[in-house]
Symmetry: C2
Subunit: 513 residues, 2 copies
């Protein structure tokens, strides 16, 4: 592929991206393919001879697009956002163009130093305590990881090692394996799956503690667990608190949890993968009150901060603990001036790493702090518009409303909500997913795309509302017939009577569900 081909293919790809973004609204958000679809469309073996870029390019629309779930579509409301922006795309382009890897300072000083600086920028934007920044006198600092999963796991490893070292310093004769077998970590039962996985991967028992009615982990619950475990001879070493849980965007109570962690010398990691982004707006910072107690903090810029995956920003108060637990050296990695700048390989799992700070730098500069704030506020305001729709319709229950995530359900039987989800998924006009809360099924509706506008929320609501009508017509007809003689005053009345009738008569319930 020569220079001309590169420039032509590049130009065609840039145009493709623009066209893709501009036609996203018209594409079904979910693909209409069955598992194995792609093997029908492309050969079983790599070509012997080079193909032209034109042949490759035309396959993007022909074979790739039919299998894409459009995360940037305004009709995508599932999971949490995987964001993207023009600024970030160019960052990725230049990162690839410059190439190289940055496992140590000498491997490309700019890789390391731009990461230090942009994470100071972002840390200040989030109003993190200065101990977390790499511009004070301490050993704090930020680093870009690939994902919150990595971050949670790395901090767990550092926490584990720190605890073992402390115990060994007091009891040098204790067997390290026995100490390891007694280590225990905590998070709430609402924490992301990756928190449980971090425990699996590092062989540390991860206890998922119950939350209060707001899905928030409270100090008292944590304290009870710690005290019981200590009594049982276990060794608490790590708490992963979540600010913005995956299910309902709930916030653990840091002001209660933090002092307990500090008192028991337990590493406190804050997973603010999604909701942390909102702290660039002062009006949401009350939700991070207590952050000063933490040892580490994480926000995924690739979720809600207009950065392409991957860019998971993590800060630690004392990088010494990472370096102590993650350092392995070899003569071929040594260089002059070592120790004067961070060697980020000691802050992560892998040796190699990309120049990810480039896209972060681009996005922060091309949006500016105000532009980023506008994006957050716009998402939340759109979510509020959706919440208003839900609240104004008596058939629905607004279950939670936090940041740009609205959780709702059809009043009445769980299966009605489930059927609503199934219909929406099959129709592919919008993409939402299910969660559960107190044994109730709920539908998560999270504003994701930066292209999302009020008209998209109207469209989504119309789709949800119409499908609800169709479901309820089928479900409610027999009930209405039963209740026809009685004085039904409202939709709530009907639902209430259905619930009552369930206890009274299995026959009726069978008709309903």
């Amino acid at each position: 592929m020569d220079v001309k081909d590169f420039l032509d293919f590049g130009k065609a790809s840039m145009d493709f991206i623009v066209n893709y973004m501009e036609t996203l609204r018209d594409r079904p958000v979910l693909p209409n393919v069955e598992p194995g679809y792609l093997s029908q469309l492309i050969p079983e073996e790599a070509p012997k001879e080079a193909e032209t870029w034109q042949e490759v390019f035309k396959d993007i629309e022909r074979v790739i697009m039919p299998g894409i779930t459009h995360w940037n579509s305004p009709n995508f409301y599932a999971y949490y956002p995987s964001s993207q922006s023009y600024a970030s795309i160019i960052g990725e382009l230049l990162c690839a163009g410059i190439g190289g890897v940055g496992f140590s300072w000498i491997c490309s000083p700019a890789f390391t130093e731009l990461e230090v600086i942009t994470l100071n920028w972002l840390g200040k934007m989030l109003n993190l305590p200065s101990e977390f920044l790499n511009c004070g006198n301490g050993s704090g600092g930020g680093v870009i990881q690939g994902s919150a999963s990595e971050t949670t796991m790395i901090c767990l490893i550092a926490a584990k090692d720190r605890k073992i070292r402390r115990i060994k310093s007091i009891h040098p004769d204790w067997d390290e394996h026995i100490i390891k077998s007694k280590l225990v970590a905590y998070s709430s039962d609402q924490a992301n799956s990756s928190v449980e996985k971090a425990g699996l991967l590092t062989s540390v028992q991860m206890k998922l503690l119950p939350t209060d009615n707001n899905c928030s982990l409270r100090g008292e619950t944590l304290l009870r667990a710690i005290e019981k475990d200590l009594k049982d001879g276990l060794i608490p070493c790590y708490v992963c608190a979540t600010l913005g849980t995956t299910g309902t965007c709930a916030f653990d109570n840091l002001e209660e949890i933090g002092p307990i962690c500090n008192q028991y010398e337990i590493w406190l990691h804050i997973d603010a993968a999604y909701a942390g982004a909102a702290f660039i707006c002062p009006e949401y910072r009350h939700l991070m009150a207590g952050v000063q107690y933490a040892d580490s903090f994480n926000v995924n810029c690739h979720k809600w901060l207009l950065l392409n995956f991957d860019c998971s920003a993590m800060w630690v108060k004392n990088s010494k603990y990472l370096i102590e637990s993650l350092s392995v050296n070899r003569i071929y990695l040594a260089y002059d001036k070592e120790g004067l700048a961070p060697d980020y390989r000691h802050w992560q799992i892998s040796l190699g790493r990309r120049f990810r700070s480039l896209k972060l730098w681009f996005v922060l500069r091309l949006y500016g702090i105000e532009g980023m704030q506008r994006h957050i506020r716009n998402s939340i305001s759109l979510a509020q518009k959706f919440a208003d729709y839900v609240e104004s319709d008596e058939r629905f229950e607004l279950v939670t409303n936090s940041m740009a995530l609205i959780c709702f359900r059809l009043k009445g039987d769980n299966n009605w909500t489930k059927e609503l989800l199934t219909r929406l998924t099959e129709r592919k006009r919008i993409y939402v997913i299910i969660a559960s809360l107190c044994e109730k099924y709920i539908i998560r509706f999270c504003i994701s795309s930066r292209l999302c506008q009020e008209k998209d929320i109207e469209f989504a609501w119309k789709e949800i509302s119409e499908q609800a009508t169709e479901i309820l017509q089928t479900k409610l007809r027999p009930i209405e017939e039963i209740l026809t003689q009685s004085s039904v005053k409202s939709y709530d009345d009907i639902v209430l009577r259905i619930e009552n009738s369930k206890h009274k008569s299995n026959n009726i319930t069978q008709k309903i569900t």
Copy 2:
């Protein structure tokens, strides 16, 4: 940033990349900056208001380029390559443009399915046993990881879990923590630092076994270690064999190691991060003889296969073991049709993942198998040209010659080689790094850039040779004076006499070193 800005910035960036590639030879391969240079050049805080793309763009040359180590420069011979190609760059561009993450099939079927297919393509190109491919009847298959570090670690976790499960099935009453404390893994003392780190991260004792004179781990050494450990009550669970070590590109003896691993039910992982790429050429496949004994195999496409970092290809014979040890589920991750295609989140550490197979697909198609083979053969042939230079100069010792990595040294005192490296590094005309072998310092010279040509090898050799002359003139003058009356026949004679004289007289040695 609107569409016009995106297209303009994109065009400027494409032109920048082309210009960068074409001027690489003229840029000093190593940057001339001190730690902290970048904080002098850019503000301490993110801008409040958006800047223009032109302002951002001009900073690439002004502040970034001075801090770049040019991994794609023809004068870069350090570490192993971090490759890059125009085809791969466009792959990254479109990956960013499409956006999204692919943790499960439904998240974008094309992400998963293209990965399955391209890893079948590449697996066939490498002539991997069909059990490793996801197109037979078994549970084998490939997956793209971020790095060999991740791969080594993931397979160690799977190995550990498999062993624990097997032991528990025989001795259900044994304590799991005690089993864990007795697990032991092996690699050679030449294995990459990431292998030792995998042991650290997963709390499995990783024993670095001694190698033979060719830096190769032999069956007998492994067998002795296993038998001793079994006798001591330990539980061997994992061997990481290296095909192409980082120091000298040595190959462990798989044909000896493999049957031992199989006999003792030890997971055999093959780290062929660098040298594995060469197996796309039939003439190098004898070096992977014994691969059929392995449980997992890894080659980093971002090293020598023209792919940008990150794209670490890994295959397993039985994905069940990954899934058993890495699966964590949540209701919001469930979907219809689950289980009909791989959900790659169960094959890796993180939940999220990029559409990395796109660039692999592009590179394989735009080079074709023959084009990829030409690249490998060209690198090796350039390395041989360099080896010829070394061998033709009596002042140098050719220590090892494997694939596109040549290790050499100045005959005589270790410090001479060290000084040669220091001078080369300070002069920044070429970038090479040091390694050690049997207590001797050696310089690693690895062909890295796809732009490297014969004229670059000549340039590099001239630089090395001239610096050697300058060093040796200083070092040898006193010796030559001493020896002036004697019958010195050759350079080897001088070195030999120096070595002899060291034993005879400390005075002389002091003058030399």
